[in-house]
């Protein structure tokens, strides 16, 4: 049996699953310190299912903790960046394009040293151990232990980054080092940014993971726990402590994976209607389609494999204005159960309207009887249009496609959607995120440049696939279940040697010992 928990902006959801059966599901408001909400959710779940904590094999958590820490600039470590690149890259030092307040929050410490690689693996300059040692001493003198290391073309060769890390660890006791090659793809600034964000989250990561462990212990749950990554796969808590940046945007990924599971569809459009916003994404072969342009994490540009999600301001708590009729983007959010009319409040929300229209029986219906038909129709029209336009944005062909609706705000989907062959609101749709976390798999990724003159295309692909598969196993996957789910090839313009960039993702089920 497994527990899946999703800590969203409005609600914390928890589900209990046995293989592919859902045994219980609960929802409770997210608390400011987050841990309390998790404990409450677990208590509710245990009560609902009479579950014996000893029978839980694993707990999977999707959280916005780390995203929030960066967005709010809270509890971030002073961090030093060592970029191995001289004589190149000086025109744009580390953190050049960062918001000033974020740069200052981590101290704006950076050092450039000699080294780096050309696209074909030649060195730009020799790595200079003495130089790095002196830099490490400066970092030590500044009292910093959180270090991010980047290097030109390190996805092709991580040797220099590793050498630098070795020296840093020798000079700085308790150093916490993030290598850009371990988490990022091609694009120096984006990859370096990811490494820096990761490094500055090291204290938060330690604290949050310890907090989750404490919450589970409090509930007598001794099973190991995992955190959801932004691509829908899991990482062990120890790995999450090392790479907290990989949890960014795991929420939408989980809701889409949950939607795939609940609907039984592998290719569909998913709309997750929350309290304030809705997210629309495309499911391809059971996984969300990834965005290919640069993504923003906390105001900083990066290039993670993140789900391609279109968000818009429609939710169950969206405030309705009557003259002229307008829906959202303002919302009562998690205060729905006190502020909206059906719950005794005085704010007209979208939920009030669908109840007044007779589609759902929630709260006190009498309190919304006075809402006139023209207003109801007008609001439902607007909601229908917002949804249809957003769905159409994300479709990849003109052909009608099934739309799976999840999230607590799914009650708003009462009109047909243009371009949808059918609308499916599966049972347990309100906790799809938590389910997505519970059924997540573990994965391994490779993203490198190969020269197809040195080896055949088939050899390069096989090498990359084998590497991705072994990375998945190292992350905890059962080797028997691992398969390659994504292959991307991009020939590189203007480069000889038939250089091609190959990106492979392999995914497997978590090996339960």
């Amino acid at each position: 049996m497994r527990i899946g928990i999703d800590v969203g902006g409005t609600n914390t959801d928890a589900v209990l699953m046995d293989s592919r059966t859902i045994l219980g599901a609960v929802k409770t408001p997210t608390t400011p310190n987050v841990t309390d909400g998790i404990v409450t959710a677990l208590q509710m779940l245990i009560e609902q299912t009479e579950l014996n904590p000893a029978n839980i094999m694993a707990v999977m958590l999707g959280t916005t903790h780390f995203t929030n820490a960066v967005v709010e600039r809270l509890h971030l470590c002073p961090t030093a960046v060592i970029r191995i690149a001289l004589p190149a890259t000086e025109a744009l030092p580390p953190m050049t394009d960062w918001p000033k307040d974020l740069r200052n929050a981590i101290g704006n410490h950076y050092f450039l040293v000699k080294g780096g690689y050309e696209f074909d693996g030649r060195e730009i300059a020799s790595f200079d151990s003495m130089e790095v040692r002196q830099v490490a001493k400066q970092i030590l003198d500044r009292g910093i232990t959180s270090v991010a290391i980047s290097c030109v073309f390190s996805p092709i060769n991580d040797e220099q980054e590793k050498q630098a890390a070795e020296i840093v660890r020798q000079v700085i006791p308790n150093a916490h080092v993030t290598l850009s090659s371990a988490i990022g793809r091609l694009g120096l600034l984006e990859r370096e940014n990811a490494a820096i964000i990761n490094a500055c989250l090291s204290e938060v990561a330690k604290r949050i993971v310890a907090g989750f462990e404490a919450a589970l212990r409090q509930m007598n749950i001794t099973a190991p726990f995992y955190l959801s990554q932004n691509d829908g796969t899991l990482m062990a808590s120890a790995y999450a402590q090392e790479y907290p940046v990989l949890t960014f945007n795991s929420g939408p990924t989980n809701s889409m994976r949950g939607a795939a599971f609940l609907s039984g569809l592998k290719d569909a459009l998913v709309i997750d209607v929350g309290g304030t916003t809705s997210d629309v994404g495309m499911l391809l072969n059971g996984f969300p389609r990834v965005a290919s342009q640069a993504v923003d994490i906390g105001g900083v540009r990066s290039n993670f494999r993140m789900p391609d999600v279109y968000s818009f301001g429609l939710g169950g708590g969206s405030i309705v204005r009557t003259d002229p009729i307008k829906v959202g983007p303002q919302s009562v959010g998690y205060e729905l159960t006190t502020k909206s009319m059906i719950f005794g409040g005085d704010v007209l929300t979208t939920t009030d309207v669908v109840v007044a229209a007779g589609f759902h029986n929630i709260g006190d219906q009498d309190r919304v009887q006075h809402i006139g038909k023209p207003l109801i129709e007008g609001v439902l029209d607007i909601i229908g249009e917002m949804v249809s336009i957003s769905v159409d944005r994300m479709k990849t062909s003109a052909a009608p496609i099934p739309v799976v609706s999840v999230g607590g705000g799914s009650i708003l989907i009462v009109r047909p959607i243009n371009g949808a062959s059918e609308i499916i609101t599966p049972e347990n749709h309100a906790v799809a995120n938590a389910i997505g976390a519970a059924i997540a798999q573990v994965g391994g990724e490779v993203d490198r440049v190969f020269s197809l003159e040195a080896m055949s295309r088939e050899e390069a692909l096989n090498q990359a696939k084998a590497e991705a598969i072994s990375k998945a196993v190292a992350a905890g996957a059962d080797p028997a279940t691992v398969e390659v789910v994504d292959v991307e090839e991009v020939p590189l313009a203007y480069l000889p040697g038939n250089a091609t960039r190959i990106a492979i993702k392999a995914v497997g089920d978590l090996a339960m010992a």
């Binding site: 690149a85 001289l86 004589p87 190149a88 890259t89 000086e90 025109a91 744009l92 050049t96 394009d97 780096g116 050309e118 696209f119 030649r122 730009i124 300059a125 030109v152 073309f153 091609l186 694009g187 120096l188 600034l189 495309m282 389609r289 290919s292 342009q293 640069a294 540009r301 391609d308 944005r393 479709k395 990849t396 062909s397 003109a398 440049v449 991009v490 020939p491 590189l492 313009a493 203007y494 480069l495 000889p496 038939n498 250089a499 091609t500 960039r501």
Partner: protein, 359 residues
């Protein structure tokens, strides 16, 4: 004459990407370099062609090489200065101003950082009015101005000077030196006098790019249609609206050649388009008939935001509008078409101006 400040860069970068017709490199790095240079060295003086003396020497500055290398091995800022100094030294003449050689993507913004750093004015013009893949594809070639002497510099401090018998040889040599330098190089080439430029250059390109970018920005702010705004300000024609349903890319002769296949949306429902590219978009065919070809500009914009999309950035599932924009008249001459017409790129079709095809 006006001053270019940080505030103008974003608009210029976006407009340049529209003119880049899918190529010209990733504008992000270029934008950052320009902003950093202006912050460090101050705003840049932008002069019209009429404000430069007939005898004054103007030299384009550019970055040459693989877009993938450009986003990894960022310049140190000294390379282009070295290239300029080497060229000025060889010519025995001071360089009076900088210009852009191609108004698309990276190479319309790079010259701004060069001008800032060297304290030189920037001339409001370029050699293409768009982006093209090969060095000889500039109006200078039509008017017999040589690309060489050309200097190339890398981050290690190497500078190479080449002199060739024609601009096609320049493309050959400089391409292989670029590879030796690690796949990217900063270059100074096509030195020309004010008098020559007044005849051959494409005028007002920097301002034009800025106008395009500004129009898109305002359209977005006012919730008007940014795609329509681009079409109007460029005098372009909508060629298609569709979803990318297939993408084929392969490396041929050092360039990324490929095709994007689109299924029509809305009024184009049931129709199909194929765009062929060699970094930049070359020809667009709708239901197997040519609707826009080089040298006219084929620009791809996101259907909702109007954001221009490079060929490297194009992905399966993207919803885009394809716009055909008339090129500069010099490209429509016989010499121009020999250089950059569809036949040069291997397409068995004669050039017909887009306004005739789609007007």
């Amino acid at each position: 004459m006006r001053m270019l400040t940080e505030q103008h860069i974003d608009d210029l970068a976006l407009g340049a990407a529209v003119l880049g017709t899918g190529g010209g490199g990733d504008p992000y790095i270029g934008r950052l370099l320009a902003i950093e240079a202006i912050r460090k060295f101050g705003p840049v003086k932008l002069l019209t062609l009429d404000e430069i003396g007939d005898d004054e020497l103007v030299v384009p500055a550019a970055m040459m090489g693989a877009p993938t290398v450009m986003v990894e091995k960022i310049p140190n800022g000294r390379e282009i200065v070295a290239a300029f100094k080497a060229l000025a030294g060889y010519l025995g003449q001071p360089i009076a101003a900088v210009m852009s050689i191609e108004a698309g993507g990276l190479n319309s913004i790079m010259p701004i950082s060069v001008a800032a750093e060297m304290g030189l004015p920037l001339i409001d013009c370029d050699g293409m009015g768009r982006a093209f893949p090969e060095i000889q594809m500039v109006t200078h070639t039509i008017f017999g101005v040589s690309a060489t002497p050309m200097t190339m510099a890398d981050e290690k401090g190497n500078t190479v000077l080449i002199n060739t018998i024609d601009n096609h040889w320049t493309e050959r040599f400089s391409r292989s030196i670029t590879v030796d330098m690690g796949g990217s190089a900063l270059i100074a080439l096509y030195a020309a006098t004010g008098k020559q430029l007044k005849e051959l250059a494409v005028r007002g390109t920097m301002t034009y790019a800025e106008e395009i970018g500004k129009t898109v920005r305002l359209a977005r702010q006012q919730e008007a249609n940014p795609v329509e705004a681009v079409r109007r300000i460029t005098g372009g024609f909508q060629a298609f609206k569709g979803k990318v349903v297939d993408l084929q890319r392969r490396t041929v002769g050092g360039f990324a050649r490929g095709e994007a296949h689109l299924d029509g949306l809305d009024e184009y429902n049931g129709s199909k388009m194929i765009i062929h590219f060699q970094n930049e978009h070359l020809v667009a065919m709708r239901d197997e008939k040519y609707v826009v070809t080089v040298p006219d500009l084929i620009t791809v914009l996101d259907v909702d935001t109007g954001e221009p999309i490079t060929t490297e950035g194009l992905r399966y599932g993207f919803r885009i509008v394809v716009i055909g924009i008339p090129c500069d008249s010099r490209w429509r001459t016989q010499k121009g078409l020999e250089l950059v017409g569809p036949r040069y790129f291997g397409y068995d079709v004669d050039y017909i101006p887009v306004e005739q095809r789609l007007g």
